[in-house]
Symmetry: C2
Subunit: 643 residues, 2 copies
């Protein structure tokens, strides 16, 4: 089978492995033969027209295949996925094979025209679009049903025959990337373009946001330091700091949109057309006709989904929120108990004991967040969303609400029920620092250590092998297939979101939060980079034009922080002293200021354009060109009719 | 010249006049010859390939031309403007001549396939896109410069050679429309589809909104009546009414988006692609190169425009706002004086005198609004916006802010500075009713009466004419060219917007406002219909998919009304009595409720989908089809390369 490769252009001499397919041990021969035939088969016969080579290992009971493609095939695939590349005249355009000569750096023998991440994305796209023809089931597995148009790879995955598909690392490139990313100690920007061409746009955009956000926090941190050093407690200084914070957070979120547009324009994803979304792999339903495509596919009534969402998920989330509040009340009891103990037997130990409840609470919060996360994933999957994007949005919403309450409820309670600013400051500091330390540990250092141990073990095993293939490739594949899978940027954004909450919600009480956030983020960049390069399998690149729902989440947080900060300032004794006679006047003034600030926020968000002027012009130019092309077409029609 | 018509299909026997062009008296012969030649010339020669016929009048010194087009030409024009029509399978698609057979009701001899409004829109589009080739000026007028690509009609208009272009009424159709619209006394819906096919989408959408808004106000009015009849003053009843109002206003604005989507989908404008916007006629600048089109056209630096906006317009608007507040203070002095006078000499006269200041103020407000409107138009035009849409947005913003302050500042002052609920109710009633009466009079009755008088005079003049053309056509053109021009839906929407303010901002103080609004709107529908059919020239149809910036304006008003109503309820003696000890608690509670209501509003706006599910599916289907077509194209490319 391995000898029967099909080439698009038969002159392709070198097979460059791009993607690894791991089939379950003991997969039937007929299944393998059928699947590999479909992969190499011509497009006209319903194949993907890719190249496949088995990886020969020592024991031979592992079914690992390497997938590649000829250069020409990749170029045609680039057109199919709608890749946007730079032209000779510096404009960005959707790549088409017929206009290939107009693209920058294009040459028929330049195999670097497409980045490796792009090639892997194209192969993934082609594999996922390998569809059943008239097969009723997967050969050899009668229980794995197929129907015309069903994605074969998705069915193989859900029925467990296909263990995993992942793109291969490029050791050379990775080494270069590591060096320029975190290899040398330097102050400066990350090599975002290189990260993008290696890991794809979604991950590069996360690192871009992390870097931007860190830089944006620096002014807040710088202004916050003297408040701590000189122990400033003046009312007007705090008002100034809070006002600056509120306007600043609006500005940075708006400016991010512009920076994001500049980056994604350069990367081409700003112009990429949205592809039609297939049902997500976990979607179940009876076979019916999709009203949009007219194709047969599983159908699930949207009313039944709504019932599941509103009658099961919503009550469950509310219950979890209630439980979280209950735990919070226990924490306050503990806190009180520790305080009492400290007053009764004052000693170094009791002094230390004062911090114990907060630390325990921070740990419990982390644990609850993680458990809830599993529950939310289970529930959202059970809600049976047809589209991955809708699944993601519901999951993010569930997780965000719970995490928000879990992390901030105690702070709200301390601030607006207990009115204890000292305790608020102390809790804020404990929560922020504990969660940062826990995250750094759980996210990268622990997996890195596990990975290192595993690697040593693997090396020993691999060294004793003898095969006809390149030694290091077998070794590499065997190493990488055991590596952890990176499940997307969700957790990383969530961490930043909560950090933003700590910094902005109570900024006028604890100006030092920004300093900790900056310090954390600098190490976060390095530990996340380490994680991506060393700990996890290489993820498939995902083209994206923005950070999506996270932009909305950050903006919502910044609106909430206007409210909390205004209330905090209104409650401060200094401001209360300004209105000695009438508390009513005080609260009305605070309410007025709050509404004014909110209005200014919305006006600012409205006035600052989301895209810089030159990008706007470039986009308008493209739109104009496509309109002109359409008109030209009409003109041709007219001519062909009237001569 | 008039004899040298060019036909697309020479079998076109009947010339149906669609659009009237009036040139200035004494326009040079060479100009007329050149212009009409360009209109009838073939597309290939840069003409518009339309039909032109001079209107022969008695004295002959009037240069009036009738423009029409062959059926085939109109169909090709429909493709060029991107008209969307219904197909045989009930889906909506962009019309193309080559796929004409798949469209519903299409037949080569069915001249009703395109509505008259659509035909006139196509002719307008073709005339406006008649562009200069190598002419350096308009023949006969060296001062009227041209450059390649400049719209000839726009230059003729700005240099005063072209007096006006307007579409002809269709007496038969109009009669039918009038009959089904307001001809018989009936309770029921307006014939929106007929209005749309006669006047176009923008106007039909306005009447649709007016009707929808009136129906939506009915529940508010019904609930409001008992408050007036039984003089309810209980706190909880008012809270209920206000809460209902706030949620209701959110719901109706969201539901309107859905209804609007249903209508504009049926009309095809929801799917229509945005055309590239040309500079507006009033735009001035030195000749340069447009960075988007690469064409020569006037260019004006955006920085200079920003300077004009922020350094001249903004201060001027602020000054006007200050002046308006100043006038308001005078009104309050007057009011006080009338009150004093009434107390000193109590009589029927003095009782009546109490209402005089309010009435005077209402009249002054109307006058100030109208004067300011001219100033705003002048300033916005001087700001020199390149696009009509940007001009409109800046104008609407200026006018809205001023009108809002002018109409509501006194009410805010009474409510939140004087705390005088009785005066608030009285002022609200006076302002609302006076402005409604004034509007109805100034908007339709006055012009109608003027029009009637003018018509009689015209009839006498026309009857003495003798020409070879159809008598009634000459009469009709002469009548219509003297009619007033309808300047768009701006004033009509503005009126509704202010009315919405009167109803919602202080709804918990004056529940009867909704009743007056409903009554006004019922007569408004009839007087506006009268105005459209009898008073004004027929306007060109403008395809549009929604009510644009007005949706935002209404939503903003509904957010502001949450704030005002919460404050009003918080200030009511009944609520104050609930918190006898602590005013602080009261205000905090009110603030909490307000934020909750606002949060609910935003969540509701987010959760209610903007388009009904079936429209979403239809849109998704179209998108899917175009993606599939693209893929097909790629597949064909692949095949042609690899065989």
């Amino acid at each position: 089978m391995a000898e029967s490769w099909t080439f698009l252009d038969t002159s392709e001499p070198n097979f460059r492995p791009l993607v690894v397919i791991e089939l379950a041990k003991g997969t039937k021969e007929e299944t393998i033969a059928w699947f590999t035939k479909r992969i190499v088969d011509k497009k006209g016969n319903g194949g993907a027209q890719l190249l496949v080579k088995p990886l020969v290992t020592e024991n031979g009971d592992e079914n690992i295949y390497l997938v590649g493609a000829s250069h020409l095939r990749l170029l045609l695939g680039a057109e199919a996925v709608g890749l946007v590349k730079e032209c000779n005249d510096n404009s960005m355009r959707a790549f088409t094979y017929s206009s290939r000569k107009t693209f920058k750096d294009f040459a028929d023998d330049n195999h670097d025209f497409l980045t490796m991440a792009e090639c892997q994305y194209i192969i993934k796209h082609e594999l996922e679009n390998l569809r059943a023809k008239d097969e009723k089931m997967i050969p050899g597995y009668p229980q794995a049903k197929l129907y015309p148009g069903k994605s074969i790879v998705r069915r193989l995955l859900t029925s467990g025959i296909l263990v995993q598909i992942f793109p291969l690392h490029d050791r050379e490139e990775l080494k270069k990337l590591r060096h320029s990313w975190y290899g040398r100690v330097k102050v400066g920007y990350q090599p975002l373009d290189e990260i993008r061409s290696y890991f794809g746009e979604t991950i590069a955009l996360y690192f871009g946001f992390l870097e931007y956000f860190t830089f944006a926090l620096v002014p807040m941190a710088v202004i916050g330091i003297p408040y701590y050093v000189f122990a400033w407690e003046d009312y007007d200084k705090y008002v100034m700091f809070a006002t600056f914070n509120l306007l600043w957070s609006t500005v940075i979120l708006e400016v991010w949109k512009r920076i994001c547009a500049i980056m994604t324009y350069r990367w081409g994803t700003l112009l990429m057309k949205r592809q039609f979304e297939e049902p997500r792999p976990g979607f179940r339903g009876v076979l019916g006709v999709n009203p949009v495509t007219g194709r047969e596919e599983p159908v699930y009534s949207s009313i039944r989904r709504q019932i599941r969402i509103y009658l099961v998920s919503l009550p469950f989330v509310c219950l979890c929120l209630y439980f979280s509040l209950y735990v919070m009340m226990i924490y306050f009891d503990l806190e009180q108990w520790a305080l009492d103990y400290h007053e009764e037997n004052e000693s170094n130990l009791s002094n230390l004991m004062l911090y114990v409840p907060s630390i325990i609470y921070a740990v419990v919060i982390e644990i609850m967040n993680r458990i809830y996360r599993y529950a939310a994933e289970f529930l959202t999957s059970w809600e049976n969303h047809r589209l991955e994007s809708s699944y993601q949005n519901h999951l993010i919403l569930k997780v965000l609400v719970f995490n928000f309450l879990n992390c901030f409820a105690s702070l709200f309670y301390i601030a607006f029920v207990l009115f204890d600013m000292k305790l608020l400051r102390q809790s804020l500091a404990t929560l922020l620092i504990t969660s940062q330390i826990l995250n750094q540990f759980a996210e990268s250092l622990l997996p890195y250590w596990l990975q290192k141990r595993h690697k040593k073990r693997m090396k020993k095993r691999v060294c004793s092998l003898k095969t006809d293939m390149d030694m290091s490739l077998v070794e590499q594949v065997n190493l990488e297939k055991e590596m952890g899978t990176y499940f997307g940027t969700f957790d990383d954004y969530l961490e930043l979101f909560l950090q933003f909450g700590y910094v902005s919600l109570f900024s006028c009480v604890y100006p030092l939060a920004a300093v900790f956030a900056v310090l954390n983020n600098i190490t976060e960049i390095y530990s996340d980079a380490l994680k991506m390069c060393r700990v996890y399998k290489r993820p498939f690149a995902e083209p994206t034009a923005n950070i999506g729902v996270w932009q909305l989440a950050f903006e919502t947080m910044s609106v909430i922080s206007v409210v909390t900060n205004c209330m905090l300032i209104g409650m401060s004794p200094q401001v209360n002293a300004l209105f000695p006679d009438s508390k009513m006047d005080l609260v009305l003034t605070v309410a007025l200021v709050e509404h004014l600030l909110l209005a200014i926020k919305f006006i600012m968000a409205f006035v600052i354009p989301d895209k810089p002027r030159d990008i706007q012009i470039k986009l308008a130019k493209l739109e104009f060109e496509s309109l002109e092309a359409l008109k030209q077409q009409v003109r041709v029609t007219v001519k062909s009719i009237v001569g």
